[in-house]
C-alpha cells in the first residue's frame, strides 16, 4: 500500500540538476543538438526552395572553406567575434549582464576614427598606433565604467543601462558621420586616408587580417591566464558565485565590479581599433554589426572559458558564413541567414538544459533507486 502511494506522489517526469558533467558527454549532447538544428535548417531551405538538402549542406561548408579568400574572411570574422566575446566574459563571470558591448566597441571605433582622421597624416605610424590604442581603450572603458559605477553604488539595473548606452553610442557615431562624410551628402565616411593609408594597421606577411588574428590570439591567452590564475580573476569568480560570500571574505565588491567592467571596456576598445584601423578603414553606425550581442552567446556557450570560446565563436561564424552562402546560392533574401542562425541557436540554447539537468522517469517497483535519485537531486 505504502509503495503504491509513493508511486503516485512522484510525477512521471522529474528534473534534477546534474552534479557534474563529464566534459565529453556535454559536448556530445551539444553536437547532437547541432546536428538536429542542421536537419531543421535543411528542412526549412528545402521547404522554401525545393532544392536537394545535400546541396544545401555543400553550400553551408563552402561559405567558410570555399576558397582561400573565404577561409581568411572566416578567420577574420572569427577573430573579431572572439575579441568581443573575450571582452564581455570577465563581466559575465561576475554575473554582470553587460549587453552594451555593441556600444563599447562602437565607441572604440569612434575614437580610432577620430585619431585616423585628425592625426592620420600628421604623425608617424609608430607614434600614431599607441595613441590610437590609448584613445580607443579609453573610449571603451568610459562607456563600460559608467553603468558599472551606477550599478556598484546604487544597484542600477546593468542590463537595461548598458542596452540604452548602445543607442547613445550609435547616435554619437551618426552625429560624427555628418561631419566626416565623404563624398558630401552620401551619409557615409568612405575609406579614411585611402591614398596615404595613414593610421592603418600594418599588413604583415602579406596577409591583411593576420595582425588582427594574432592580437586576438594573444588576448585570448592573456585573458585565460588572468581569469584562471590571477587573484583578480579569482575575485571575479567569487563575486559571480555570491556577493555575500565575497563581502564576507573581505572583497571590495564595488571595486571589483568597476575594475572588471573597465577590463571589459578596454578589450571592447581594442576590438574597435582592430575593426576600424585593422579591417574596414571606415566607420558607420553598423560597423559592429550586432557582434556585441552575438558575443554574449559565444561567451555563454563556452561557459565563460576563453579557450572554449575559440570553438564556440568558430561555430557561430561558420554557421553564419554558411547561411549567407546558402542565401546567395539559392538566391534567397539574405535575411534567411538570420532565420537559420536563430534556429540553430535555439537548438544549442535548448541543449544546455540536457547538459545541466537530468530527466528522471518514474520508476515502477524500485524504491531503492527512488531514494538514490532523490539524493542525487539534492
Amino acid at each position: 500500500m505504502t509503495n503504491n502511494a509513493v508511486k503516485h506522489s512522484e510525477p512521471l517526469l522529474r528534473v534534477s540538476k546534474r552534479a557534474e558533467v563529464v566534459w565529453w558527454k556535454g559536448w556530445i549532447i551539444r553536437g547532437i543538438s547541432i546536428v538536429l538544428a542542421l536537419i531543421a535548417c535543411a528542412f526549412i531551405i528545402v521547404l522554401l526552395t525545393g532544392q536537394n538538402p545535400i546541396e544545401v549542406y555543400g553550400a553551408l561548408i563552402k561559405g567558410s572553406f570555399g576558397s582561400s579568400r573565404k577561409v581568411w574572411i572566416m578567420l577574420q570574422n572569427l577573430a573579431m567575434l572572439l575579441c568581443v566575446s573575450l571582452a564581455v566574459t570577465p563581466a559575465f563571470k561576475m554575473r554582470f549582464w553587460n549587453i552594451g558591448a555593441e556600444g563599447q566597441v562602437l565607441m572604440g571605433c569612434l575614437a580610432t576614427s577620430v585619431c585616423m582622421i585628425y592625426l592620420g597624416d600628421k604623425l608617424p605610424i609608430g607614434l600614431l598606433i599607441p595613441i590610437m590604442l590609448i584613445a580607443s581603450v579609453l573610449a571603451g572603458v568610459i562607456w563600460a565604467v559608467i553603468p558599472a559605477i551606477f550599478n556598484a553604488n546604487w544597484k542600477t539595473n546593468e542590463t537595461l543601462f548598458t542596452l540604452m548606452m548602445n543607442y547613445v553610442a550609435t547616435q554619437l557615431v551618426a552625429f560624427c558621420i555628418v561631419f566626416w562624410e565623404n563624398p558630401l551628402g552620401s551619409n557615409t565616411v568612405g575609406v579614411i586616408n585611402s591614398s596615404t593609408q595613414g593610421g592603418w594597421l600594418p599588413v604583415i606577411f602579406g596577409q591583411k587580417y593576420l595582425l588582427n588574428i594574432l592580437v586576438v590570439a594573444a588576448l585570448t591567452v592573456g585573458l585565460y591566464i588572468y581569469l584562471k590564475y590571477s587573484k583578480q580573476g579569482y575575485e571575479i569568480s567569487v563575486v559571480g558565485e555570491s556577493v555575500n560570500t565575497a563581502k564576507y571574505v573581505g572583497i571590495n565588491v564595488k571595486k571589483v565590479i568597476i575594475r572588471t567592467m573597465a577590463i571589459s571596456g578596454a578589450i571592447c576598445g581594442v576590438a574597435g581599433l582592430l575593426l576600424v584601423s585593422g579591417t574596414d578603414h571606415t566607420i558607420s553606425t553598423t560597423t559592429v554589426g550586432g557582434m556585441g550581442f552575438t558575443a554574449i552567446m559565444v561567451s555563454w556557450l563556452a561557459k565563460f572559458n576563453p579557450a572554449l570560446m575559440t570553438l564556440t565563436s568558430f561555430l557561430i561564424v561558420f554557421l553564419d558564413r554558411g547561411a549567407s552562402e546558402i542565401a546567395t546560392a539559392f538566391r534567397l533574401n539574405e535575411s534567411v541567414a538570420d532565420i537559420l542562425t536563430g534556429v540553430i541557436l535555439f537548438f544549442i540554447i535548448g541543449s544546455e538544459f540536457f547538459v545541466n539537468y537530468k530527466l528522471n522517469l518514474r520508476k515502477k517497483h524500485n524504491q531503492g533507486n527512488l531514494s538514490a535519485s532523490a539524493k542525487e537531486g539534492k
Partner: protein, 329 residues
C-alpha cells in the same frame, strides 16, 4: 497653418509614433511582471507585423471582393498567433529548459527580425508574383476612422482621427493596469515576478503564470508591429522599416516604472521625442542625430534616478532576468 493647428498636428504625429511603443511596452511589462526579461520583444514586434501581412496577403489573394471586417479579423488573428508563437519559444526555452533569458531573448530578436525581413522581402517572389507587398485594401480598413471625425475640427483631429488599433492600445494598457493592481490574478503574477519561490510555496502555479504572461505579453507586443505595418504605413512592408522601435519599447518599460498606465502618456512622449527633430526649425543634420538620442537619454536618467531613490514601487520585479528552478534555492 496656425500655431494651434501645428501643435495639434505635432501631438497627433507623436501619438501615432507612440502607439507601437505602447503595445510593445504593455506587452513587455506584463512579461517582466512574471520575472521574464524578454529582450526578444523587438523580434516579436517584427513577427507580429509580418504575420499580419502574410495573413492579409493570402486573404487579399483569395478573393476578388474582399470584406473589410474579414480582412481586419484575419490579419489581427495572424499577428496575435504569430507573435504569441515566438513568445512561446522564449517561454519554453527559459521556463521549461531554464535557459538564460538574455541569451534567449537576443536570439529571438535576431530570429524575429530575420523572419520579418525575409518574408517581407520575398513573400511575393515565393508565390511567383514579384514586386513589393502592398496591402492597400487591408491597410485602408485598419486606417478607417469614425465618419464624422473629420468634421469636428481640431477636436476631431486630436482625439478621433486614428484607426481602431490606436484606441485598442490605450484600452489594453488600462485593462492591464487594472488587472495588475486590482485583481488576484495580478497580485499572483506580481508575486511570481518578485519572488517565485515564495509564490510557489503559497500554492501559485509559477510555471503557468510565467507561460501565460509571456505569451499574452508577446501577443500584445506583436500588435504594435501590426499597427505600424497596417495603419502607419498603410499595408506596405519595407525591410527594416520598423527600425529600433522595439528597443524603444523596452526603454519605455523602464520609463513607465513597470506600470502600464504610465506607459500611455510615456509612449506619446517618446513618440514626440522620436520625431521632434523634424519639427524644430533650423536644425542641421548633425543636431538631428543628437535629438534622436533623446528617448534613450531620458530613459537612462529615469533608470538612474529611480535606482537612487530606492522606492520599492519604482524598482524592477525582484526576480527579473533569473530563471526559477524549484529544487535550487
Amino acid at each position: 497653418m496656425g500655431i494651434l493647428a501645428s501643435i495639434v498636428f505635432f501631438i497627433k504625429q507623436s501619438i501615432i509614433q507612440g502607439i507601437p511603443l505602447l503595445y510593445g511596452s504593455t506587452g513587455e511589462i506584463i512579461t517582466e511582471k512574471s520575472g521574464n526579461l524578454n529582450l526578444g520583444i523587438p523580434g516579436i514586434m517584427y513577427m507580429g507585423g509580418i504575420s499580419g501581412v502574410i495573413g492579409g496577403y493570402f486573404y487579399e489573394r483569395s478573393t476578388d471582393n474582399p470584406n473589410a471586417f474579414l480582412a481586419i479579423f484575419i490579419t489581427f488573428m495572424s499577428a496575435i498567433v504569430g507573435s504569441a508563437l515566438l513568445a512561446l519559444i522564449y517561454s519554453f526555452l527559459t521556463i521549461t529548459l531554464h535557459a538564460n533569458q538574455n541569451v534567449t531573448g537576443l536570439t529571438l530578436t535576431t530570429f524575429g527580425v530575420g523572419i520579418g525581413n525575409f518574408f517581407g522581402g520575398s513573400l511575393t517572389k515565393l508565390f511567383g508574383e514579384g514586386g513589393s507587398i502592398s496591402l492597400m485594401f487591408t491597410g485602408n480598413a485598419f486606417k478607417a476612422t469614425l465618419p464624422f471625425a473629420s468634421k469636428l475640427g481640431l477636436f476631431g483631429e486630436l482625439f478621433l482621427s486614428y484607426g481602431f488599433l490606436a484606441y485598442l492600445a490605450v484600452i489594453i494598457a488600462i485593462i492591464s493596469s487594472i488587472i495588475l493592481t486590482k485583481t488576484r490574478v495580478g497580485l499572483n503574477l506580481r508575486a511570481v515576478g518578485e519572488n517565485p519561490a515564495t509564490a510557489d510555496a503559497a500554492g501559485i502555479n509559477v510555471t503557468l503564470y510565467k507561460y501565460v504572461a509571456t505569451c499574452i505579453g508577446g501577443a500584445i507586443a506583436g500588435l504594435g508591429g501590426l499597427y505600424f505595418i497596417m495603419d502607419y504605413t498603410g499595408g506596405s512592408w519595407t525591410n527594416g522599416g520598423f527600425g529600433d522601435r522595439g528597443w524603444l519599447a523596452i526603454a519605455l518599460v523602464i520609463f513607465a516604472l513597470w506600470k502600464p498606465k504610465h506607459s500611455i502618456w510615456g509612449s506619446f512622449l517618446f513618440g514626440g521625442l522620436y520625431i521632434v527633430y523634424l519639427y524644430i526649425p533650423g536644425l542641421g543634420r548633425s543636431s538631428q542625430e543628437i535629438f534622436k538620442m533623446l528617448p534613450y537619454v531620458v530613459t537612462l536618467v529615469v533608470l538612474v534616478l529611480t535606482s537612487m531613490r530606492k522606492k520599492r514601487e519604482y524598482q524592477p520585479p525582484e526576480s527579473l532576468g533569473t530563471t526559477y528552478f524549484r529544487e535550487e534555492r
